[in-house]
């Protein structure tokens, strides 16, 4: 097994689209110009005060905000791919706990719709996360990219033009 730094974004993309994950890891990123991403950034910057936001842990995961090193927050602009966001937060909890930080729970914040959702990490989840990390590594070392998924989420994806041209 190769030892990869698996970032939260990679973990998130694993659930969203494996092709996106593969291109992202190979540094073909098309995000810069995507307006959704810009919007995401703006929300980030305005949601919390200066301190504690965007903490980069062990040069791998980038957590939006950790309250008292106990509750971690992840800001999302919409609930469209909530399953993926949830797993991303679970992964953060897992990652931080592995490094001895006693995280109690995670919270998904949706400032735009003024909602939040609690995320807990169970023993069962932990096992699953380990399996997922393994699958991510397998995808990443693939020589060729996974196929276009032809799903309705493609239209809003930064890679849409790239994938469908």
């Amino acid at each position: 097994m190769i030892c990869l730094r698996i970032t939260g974004t990679m973990f998130y993309y694993y659930f969203v689209c494996q092709r996106k994950l593969w291109y992202f890891v190979n540094n073909i990123t098309l995000e810069q110009e995507n307006e959704n991403v810009l919007l995401g950034k703006l929300i980030d910057e305005s949601s919390y005060g200066r301190e504690d936001k965007q903490v980069l842990i062990d040069e791998t995961v980038n957590v939006d905000f950790i309250k008292d090193w106990k509750v971690l927050h992840e800001v999302k602009k919409s609930k469209s791919i909530e399953e993926a966001s949830m797993w991303q937060v679970k992964y953060y909890i897992y990652f931080l706990r592995q490094r001895g930080i006693k995280i109690e729970k995670g919270v998904l914040d949706y400032p735009k719709i003024k909602q939040r959702k609690e995320v807990l990490l169970t023993k069962q989840d932990e096992k699953e996360i380990e399996e997922i990390l393994h699958s991510i590594e397998k995808i990443v070392i693939q020589e060729k990219s996974p196929e276009v998924i032809d799903s309705k989420i493609c239209r809003a994806c930064a890679y849409y033009e790239f994938c469908y041209i």
Binding site: N27, I28, Q32, E33, K144, Y160, E161, I165
Partner: protein
């Protein structure tokens, strides 16, 4: 969204708080809104300092520079922010393996010559009587597939271009200035236009390649080193007929550019400022013109077609989908 800024006056380009400010000797200034800027073109005599360059660099804004005579001299190309090791390795491998390189080079010529043919057809339908040219080019195009190496492919390309340029006198109908005169000046005027417009396309390709992870110095049709950013030359080939040549035809046929826009004493090598401005305005307009893209089902600008071409090339290099050059479909 983002814009190209064309600056003609002489003056100073400096960072002023959060804008780049161009101040003319008479004190008039123009602020360039950096967050909306794709690239900047300098045509006048401009002094700028490292502070301005650092700022442009930080914002990833290329600056393209033209000399007094309107010839492209070079670009300030900010440091690459997005690089992909895997893509670079593939880009180089596709260059160094002859069959892989030839395949991509052929795709460029295939598309470029198709687009050339499309232009000639257009004018043929407008009573220019170009059947012979069409047939000649069709025949020459058959040689693309069978070309065994880059050199013979370049030969085919050269012959196509020669036949193509020969019919320009039939396409260009500018009675007063171009037909009645002896052959040499009009030729020069057209040549001057071609080189100016082609350099614009080259810089646009550079600006688009810049935002992708392609390395602009590794090319397939042209030899790397022919120009510093030779991949721009490759990609330009496809867009010269669609954007450049059509622009020249329309400028001349609508009498928007005439003899008077050139300095006579320069033997029509020198395009006056007024002429350059007119061309740039039309150029910018045609780059922003949109078409409904068949595969994407979206409206895309001509300029964006260049970006899409980069995407297709990346996909080819990554072994995702075989590259086919852009062909005019309307």
């Amino acid at each position: 969204m983002s814009e190209s800024f064309y600056l003609f006056s002489d003056g100073e380009l400096k960072r002023k708080d959060n804008v780049l400010r161009m101040t003319a000797p008479d004190g008039n200034f123009k602020d360039i809104k950096v967050n909306m800027t794709r690239d900047i073109y300098l045509f006048g005599e401009v002094s700028l300092n490292t502070k301005a360059l650092n700022y442009a660099g930080q914002l990833s804004i290329p600056i393209h520079i033209f000399n007094f005579y309107g010839f492209y001299t070079g670009s300030f190309f900010p440091k690459e922010t997005s690089v992909s090791g895997k893509l670079l390795v593939e880009q180089v491998m596709h260059y160094s393996e002859d069959s892989k390189r030839l395949k991509i080079a052929k795709a460029f010529i295939e598309a470029a010559s198709y687009n050339i043919l499309r232009n000639i057809r257009y004018y043929n339908e407008r009573n220019r009587d170009l059947e012979n040219t069409i047939n000649e080019i069709k025949n020459l195009r058959n040689g693309i597939e069978s070309a065994g190496d880059i050199k013979s492919l370049m030969g085919v390309e050269g012959s196509i271009r020669k036949v193509y340029y020969e019919c320009w006198t039939s396409i260009i109908k500018q009675e007063v200035d171009f037909e009645k005169r002896v052959k040499r000046p009009p030729d020069n005027m057209v040549n001057t236009l071609i080189s100016f417009v082609n350099s614009l396309i080259y810089t646009s390709c550079l600006s688009e390649i810049y935002v992708t992870q392609l390395n602009p110095t590794v090319s397939y049709l042209h030899s790397p080193g022919e120009r510093r950013f030779s991949l721009c030359l490759d990609i330009s080939e496809i867009f010269k007929p669609l954007i450049g040549d059509r622009l020249i035809f329309s400028l001349l046929n609508r009498n928007m550019i005439t003899e008077k826009d050139f300095e006579k004493d320069s033997n029509y090598f020198y395009l006056k400022d007024t002429g350059r401005k007119k061309i740039l305005m039309e150029y910018d307009e045609s780059m922003n013109r949109t078409i409904k893209h068949k595969e994407l089902g979206r409206n895309v600008s001509y300029r964006h077609l260049i970006r899409l071409e980069c995407y297709k090339l990346i996909k080819h290099l990554m072994g995702d989908k075989e590259y086919e050059g852009f062909k005019i479909w309307w």
